[in-house]
């Protein structure tokens, strides 16, 4: 079985400050990891993913995440947030041999001007 825990349900942060959204996963086999973003009243957009290779992955809008197998984590970071980053962020896992993509409960990032 696979599962995802997002440790923070809400993260308020001031504009231009750094942010880290935490994600831990559980699986007995190899995993593929994803971060999705959902802006208010919109669908889910893929932010970044880890499939294999380099453990540090980056998105086009300045976010990065690092796969840490020993700590079973895939935390999302951004060195300087913008108002436009205000959204719900979901971490998700899919294990080797499974079609299923399992989501965490989401973290609401609120950027304060």
């Amino acid at each position: 079985a696979q599962s995802v825990t997002q440790l923070d349900s809400q993260v308020p942060v001031f504009e231009e400050a750094p942010v880290e959204l935490r994600c831990n996963y559980s699986s007995s086999v190899s995993v593929y990891l994803f971060w999705y973003v959902q802006y208010p009243n919109q669908g889910l957009q893929l932010l970044l993913k880890y499939l294999s290779g380099s453990t540090l992955v980056e998105s086009i809008n300045g976010f990065e995440a690092e796969f840490n197998k020993s700590q079973t984590s895939f935390h999302l970071r951004k060195p300087s947030v913008h108002i436009s980053d205000t959204a719900e962020y979901f971490c998700a896992v899919s294990s080797l041999g499974s079609y299923q993509l399992t989501f965490g409960k989401g973290t609401k990032l609120s950027v304060i001007p």
């Binding site: 999705y36 889910l44 079609y99």
Partner: protein
Amino acid sequence: DTAVSQTPKYLVTQMGNDKSIKCEQNLGHDTMYWYKQDSKKFLKIMFSYNNKELIINETVPNRFSPKSPDKAHLNLHINSLELGDSAVYFCASSPRRREIKANYGYTFGSGTRLTVV
């Protein structure tokens, strides 16, 4: 050029009615999914089809019935709608699992907001 499209975007209906949500993907993916997002934003998988074959069927009331006429379409039919069915329903698709390439991922539609009154 929408990759995964769902219709309708909004659906308001009365309890007891039967309704359908349609989903189509033009990405050539083999696998399609239905997810339900509740009022607390929690996303839970409902069904998955791989090349028209049902492969995931989570604990969902049998009032919900998926139908896949071909691998590009996965529709969701709901009978005897209840207040608790109110949610946002997302369709998604992914490439075949045996070949994990750099472009592997799950693409989601924009969602259907179902309100049962």
